[in-house]
Amino acid sequence: MPLHDLRLAALSIRRTPALTALMVGAIAAGIGAAVVTITLYHARAGHPIGWKEDRLYAVTLDARSMDPELTQYSRHPEYPPFQLTYRDAQALYRSQIPERAVRMFKAMRVVDPGRSGLQPFSVIARMTSADFFQMFDVPFLYGSGWSRAADDAPEPVVVLGKHLNDKVFGGANSVGRFITLSGRQYRVIGVTDSWMPQPKFYDLNNGAFDLPEDLYLPFAWGTTLQLFPSGNFNCLSKNVQITTYHDILTTECAWLQYWVELPTRAQRQRFQEFVDNYVTDQKRYGRFPRPLNNRIVNVTHWLAMNDVVGDESRMEVALALMFLGVCVLNTLGLMLAKFLGAAPITGLRRALGATRADIVRQHLTEVIVVGLLGGLAGLALAWPGLQIIRILTYTPGIDDNPARLALAQALVHIDFPMLILALAISLMTGTLAGLYPAWRIGRLAPAAFLKAQ
């Protein structure tokens, strides 16, 4: 019977090719727009490390002064600053409660390949703690990260990203070899594999959609070399006095990312208490004038707090879905007109013994076929649409990292779940548009149409 329905649908579609094309076109436009905007949304709303959802937490403390100017331009004045001051990061790092903890920032360094024919070039380095690699499940090609002891010494060791290792060592296992960074030699102890968490949740400075750093150095190199963060550096009080590098470490200026891994709820609870106690204690020295507002949040919450998805993306999806609604109504109207126009034939079928259910099913089949055709056409439209958006939004980096293209592509990629969603939407569109016309045509009394013939 369904096969019969399909044949009837094909016949009906062939009878009115122009009208069908209009309907398919309308649905295609609606679904195309929906798929484009949902794909962009989906890429931004990705969860880069979902398997650690209830273990990984970003830590923020509200060390802001009462100055009203501080919150004048902030989107969420209720949230603490998204980074920590150096002294707070150091204080929290002393806690033994978390299984792992990192405090970190990024800074520019220059690589001197030391080979003729290869110019020196700039790279972004992450000054981070030993736990970084295991905490964020960074894949390694060769070697491994460093120990906690290497952090504070600091030992002249480095972990290279894959791209940098390809560039300097031709992709060979470089563990044990040396690399010159801004005039200082470091021993390579590890090389990471391609790794591109999107959004780059662990540090949202300079945009949530960026590549990981080119290399990683033990945290204390930052202060040893007196490096400035190349991310945000926000002073939390107007009365901060900065005249030397030392002031950066001691004043109320936030520039460090802080993450902890707390495997159990009890540990999370204890760490929250530890942080609150620390802040309460600091209040005695005149710091933290605001009410207690220390947030230890998981990745999902963290990304939401930082508006990674963005209103822009939400608004685009909302408007595209409204447009899809217009397309559904449009198809509904055209379908109704078409079915009523062909009512005499339906009347004949009824008279020849087709039941109401048969008629409804026959017409519903036709609308669903039209819906699916529209869905496929919509997907076909969405693909070039997304490519155009990729070209429009592509921001070339200062580096020559080929992963940058992969990153741009990842943001407009229609993945398998997206494909399923698109087909589901087109099925739903077809059904929504067809339900009423099919029901309506099923209720028509056949006699009225037979008489006129």
Binding site: S122, N239, I242, V326
Partner: protein, 414 residues
């Protein structure tokens, strides 16, 4: 007028007897209006943000990013030699070094006040540390005072904390900052206090406009408050801005690209780019939103037109006999045409009326989302007019077909 009155009752009763189709079209028109008006509003805003005047001569300017790496690299000698070279290249109007590249999302800002009191009310402003010809290089319009003197330009400090804490004896500010700190208009010659670094400087010049980066309306004022502090930024990075005579940029860039890298030892050129390209890339996101929503707006218009057209075509087909009968009993072609136009106009108007309410609801939601001004009523009026005209155009073809139905049809059975 009387004739129209006479026509309206049978028209309404015909609409009422077959209300599903018209209702669908009316709802379609309503949603379409809500989408169209809000899309137009958001696109306008994004484009307005992207097109905010920068005050900068972008099309004749390019920048060079140089990075020192050698152990004996000296920022002071390198920058001095580089600026001397760049300013002497034929076709160059002016060249300067800056610690940040305007029109990108990297910025430095500090709170500024009119008194040295650390708790004084302050205004945030962007800071650019530039060499003496910075204002000329950016092509900014000096409306009062003068550019900083070469003597005021401090040699490079060892790092940025040192550089900023040293500050400078004199600064140039934008009019936007002058207005917000010195509403009486006495900014020139007055003292500007930088909080956090706690340094005073005399305001020696005021430029008409300079926009740090494009920003939505609620930040737009901040982006136009700028302080130019004379100084050579610390190394080992050096960002040079070069403005050429109109039309000579490509030639100058080619020459510089060839000669510049080897001019000084111990450094390399990271990047060189026309300034307008940089500014365009910064506006990528704004443009992408405008394009996506623009396409959605266009499609919603087309699809709505198809909907109106489809309904009218269907009405004409199913009413062939009635139209023939009307013609047979004396209705003119004009009457038939008017009937369909009027019917469609009523449907569109019902849709538009509902759509206005819907558009306002969506608009309020969006303005809350973006903390942007409310949807202007002007946009609603424009959207209403657009959909009316669209409706009339879409119905014209089927209505013309209706007028061509022969009165003889009335005598046939089908």
């Amino acid at each position: 007028m009387r004739k129209v009155d006479l026509e309206i009752r049978p028209l309404l009763s015909a609409l009422w007897r077959n209300r599903t189709g018209p209702l669908l079209v009316a709802v379609q028109v309503a949603i379409a209006l809500a989408v169209l008006v809000n899309v137009a509003y958001v696109v306008q805003q994004r484009l307005a943000t992207a097109r905010q005047p920068t005050g900068i001569d972008l099309k004749d300017t390019f920048w060079i990013l140089s990075q020192g790496y050698a152990p004996d690299y000296s920022q002071a000698t390198t920058v001095k030699a580089d600026l001397t070279y760049l300013n002497a290249v034929p076709g160059v109007v002016a060249a300067a070094i800056s610690h940040n590249l305007p029109q990108t999302y990297s910025e430095t800002d500090l709170p500024f006040a009119t008194t040295p009191n650390p708790g004084a009310a302050s205004v945030e402003a962007l800071v650019y540390m530039m060499s003496e010809r910075g204002i000329e290089t950016l092509g900014l319009k000096l409306i009062a005072g003068r550019a900083p003197l070469a003597e005021a330009v401090a040699p490079p400090a060892s790092d940025f904390t040192q550089a900023f804490s040293r500050w400078a004896p004199e600064v140039v500010i934008t009019e936007a900052l002058a207005r917000s700190l010195f509403p009486k208009g006495d900014a020139l010659g007055n003292t500007l206090y930088a909080q956090m670094i706690n340094r005073p400087a005399k305001i020696v010049g005021i430029v008409e406009r300079m926009q740090g980066m494009p920003a939505p309306e609620r930040y737009a004022d901040l982006m136009e408050r700028v302080v130019f502090v004379p100084g050579i930024p610390p190394g080992p990075v050096a960002l040079y801005l070069v403005r050429t005579q109109p039309g000579r940029r490509a030639a100058v860039m080619a020459k510089v690209e060839q000669e510049f890298p080897t001019l000084q030892p111990g450094r390399f050129i990271m990047k060189m780019e026309p300034f307008d390209k940089t500014a365009a890339v910064t506006r990528n996101g704004l443009r992408a939103t405008a394009v996506i929503l623009g396409v959605v707006g266009l499609l919603v218009t087309v699809v709505t037109a198809i909907g109106i057209f489809g309904l009218a075509a269907f009405q004409v087909t199913t009413r062939t006999k009635q139209i023939g009968t009307r013609r047979a009993i004396g209705a003119r072609r004009g009457h038939i045409l008017r009937y369909f136009l009027l019917e469609n106009w009523l449907i569109t108007t019902a849709g538009v009326a509902t759509g206005c309410i819907l558009a306002l609801v969506v608009g309020v939601k969006l303005s809350l989302m973006f903390q942007a001004p409310r949807l202007p009523l002007y946009d609603l009026v424009a959207g209403t007019l657009a959909l009316w005209i669209l409706g009339l155009c879409a119905v014209l073809l089927p209505a013309r077909r209706a007028t061509r139905i022969s009165p003889a049809v009335a005598t046939r059975t089908v």
